[in-house]
């Protein structure tokens, strides 16, 4: 018995160290992939920046769906709010410093996140889903009709951000935008890594599994998810603002139901409830989209649908979830 306890105490330590180590490894892999992307696809940096921007949306969705268990089909509302706010700040208020635009985007995303949270958490199950869809449609209609502010269906154009830090122009090849995006992604990733490992993150995972148990511990389910919605909104806001700054236009598609649904597809493809899953899902989905829609744009929606059905049937834990479960099992078998 004592021997067993000792062994466990020893086994406990390295597990913890390994966790921190895998965090560093993950960040290192993201950096390496970013550098590789820069040199391998110098003509496609705009696409890579778009991938980063969408990855931030998917990470943001992962926070509420993957970590808190709230199914939503309206998460693009948060992303679009960030994009339009950053864009309108530049076009209508002359706030053209990219960092200031980013701050505006984060604020707007947070506000949209809190608003969505208040509404979505009013109901459960199907009505909750309906609320989330209605929210993104409502945002879309509002942006469509307030065309003097948003450019309506033509999109909000002529956003002209200043050079980053006064030094780096946003060039035609998207080099600055790409580097800016990579840095933002890394910062968000590290912050979120801390958040999901913190007591708060543990509380959220608990809520996802059993909200009744969490209430019986005396914790507020509603309050906790609202906090997560605020963080999620901020992250989506970063993604939206990055999109506005890098493409210099904001279109109604950034507030669409389709984008919300696609973000969910990407998340599930990669695997819910893990930050790397969200990243892997986004990269594989958008890379795949780029290839397929170049070959045959007509079939894109059919293929997304088929992909979704296949993932649900054969890899319900997503690419990352399936792979890590496989590795875990092999490690255990070896022991």
């Amino acid at each position: 018995m004592a021997a067993l306890m000792n062994e466990n105490a020893i086994a406990g330590k390295p597990a913890r160290v390994r966790l921190a180590g895998s965090d560093l490894l993950g960040v290192a892999i993201v950096i390496a992939a970013a550098i590789a992307g820069y040199f391998l696809f110098p003509n496609n940096l705009a696409l890579l920046t778009r991938i980063i921007s969408i990855a931030l949306l998917v990470l943001s969705l992962d926070l509420v769906t993957g970590y808190c268990g709230v199914a939503t089909l309206g998460h693009a509302a948060l992303y679009g709010a960030g994009a339009y706010a950053a864009g309108m700040a530049a076009v209508h208020f002359g706030i053209t410093d990219p960092l200031a635009m980013m701050a505006v985007g984060i604020l707007a995303g947070t506000a949209a996140g809190l608003l969505s949270g208040v509404i979505v958490l009013r109901a459960h199950g199907l009505p909750q889903l309906v609320l989330s869809i209605a929210i993104v449609h409502l945002f879309h209609e509002a942006a469509n009709k307030a065309s003097s502010w948003t450019g309506g269906s033509d999109g909000l154009a002529s956003i002209a951000p200043d050079p980053l830090l006064g030094l780096f122009e946003f060039d035609l090849w998207s080099r600055t935008a790409y580097v800016f995006g990579v840095v933002l992604l890394l910062v968000v990733l590290i912050v979120l890594r801390l958040v999901v490992r913190s007591p708060f993150g543990m509380l959220c995972r608990g809520i996802k599994e059993d909200p009744i148990r969490i209430r019986a511990m005396g914790a507020s389910v509603h309050g906790t998810i609202m906090r997560m919605y605020a963080i999620s909104g901020a992250v989506a806001g970063v993604g939206g603002a990055l999109n506005a700054i890098s493409t210099q236009v904001v279109g109604l598609d950034s507030l669409s139901f389709t984008l919300s649904a696609e973000a969910l597809v990407m998340l599930v493809l990669g695997g819910t409830g893990s930050l790397y899953g969200a990243l892997i899902g986004t990269v594989s989905f958008l890379w795949f989209e780029d290839i397929v829609s170049a070959a045959n744009p007509f079939h894109w929606l059919t293929i997304v649908g088929a992909l979704l059905i296949l993932v649900v049937l054969f890899a319900p834990r997503g690419l990352y979830g399936t792979a890590s479960a496989f590795l875990e099992r092999r490690q255990e078998a070896r022991r």
Binding site: L131, I133, K145, L264, H299, L301, T302, G305, L308, I309
Partner: protein, 287 residues
């Protein structure tokens, strides 16, 4: 006054079309607890088949309706066998993903086969004109849609309340395990209900084609509308669904009449307000 009556007739017609399409969704959701986002896609398939039958094969309206209903059911059977069966009792997110996947596939295929344009279903001469109701001439087709809604509501009420199948259906909705223990073959009840639900969706898609035009994005455009009916009316409740449809029809039509620019905006705002006030639906037992 005239405007009010006009709105009322249009709202009633729109509400009844919504009812015919959504009631099947409501029943299956109450019965099988599946969040089926692809329901509207089956209404769309019905519309496409009817349009093809009437315009390309040249059959009459009534025959086209029949071909559409049975054709859609035929298409739905393998989908139910291969895909829906796997998600009964699965977590909500899984159901959402699977049925969105099905919706996307159907949209993509419809787009490929029929092209992105709007499809019409030619009306027979009897339904084309208008009938003078004293205060206003009303398109015969609208009255036909209202009539269809009433007939469907009545027939369903009879089926569920007065027939042996209805008893089995209600027992299965209440407690599937208990019903099965009492000898109800729930698998068959499920299959028949699913077929009826899909058939009604296709019927509604055809009859309502003048109000909800058939095009590839139909399934996405009206997805929220059909789901709202169920979440406001309460899954499995016919009176609830009827009430929800009339309410939504009224809100949507009034919005379009009085504020054509902002119609959809107010529609979604009203949806959010209603669901927030009645998170369990008007009937109060939606899960």
């Amino acid at each position: 006054m005239q405007t009010v009556l006009s709105i009322a007739v249009d709202a009633l017609a729109y509400g009844m079309v919504l009812f015919v399409i959504s009631i099947g969704l409501s029943v299956t959701m109450g019965l099988m607890r599946v969040v089926n986002l692809a329901h509207g896609a089956f209404a769309m398939i019905g519309g496409y088949i009817a349009s093809y039958a009437a315009r390309d094969l040249g059959v009459g309206y009534g025959v086209a309706v029949l071909i559409a209903v049975f054709g859609t059911i035929l298409i739905a059977i393998p989908i139910e066998r291969l895909l829906y069966r796997r998600i009964y009792g699965a977590p909500e997110l899984t159901q959402v993903l699977m049925t969105i996947g099905i919706t996307f596939c159907i949209i993509g295929i419809a787009n490929f086969v029929f092209g992105p344009t709007l499809k019409t279903i030619p009306l027979p001469p009897e339904l084309q004109g208008s009938i003078n109701l004293g205060f206003r001439a009303v398109a015969t087709h609208r009255l036909f849609a209202i009539l269809c809604g009433l007939v469907v509501a009545g027939a369903l009420w009879y089926l569920i309340e007065k027939t042996a199948f209805g008893v089995k259906l209600r027992a299965s909705v209440d407690n599937a395990a208990m019903a099965a223990a009492l000898g109800v073959r729930t698998q068959i009840v499920y299959a028949v209900s699913f077929a009826i639900a899909i058939g009604l969706a296709a019927f509604g898609g055809v009859v309502g084609a003048e109000l909800l035009p058939v095009e590839p994005y139909y399934a996405l455009r009206y997805m929220v509308t059909f789901l709202v009916v169920v979440s406001i009316g309460g899954a499995g409740s016919i009176p609830g669904a009827l009430l929800a449809c009339l309410l939504l029809g009224g809100i949507d039509t009034t919005g379009r009449y009085l504020m054509p620019e902002f119609g959809e905006f107010f529609f979604y705002l009203a949806v959010i307000a209603i669901v927030c006030v009645f998170p369990r639906g008007l009937a109060g037992r939606a899960k």
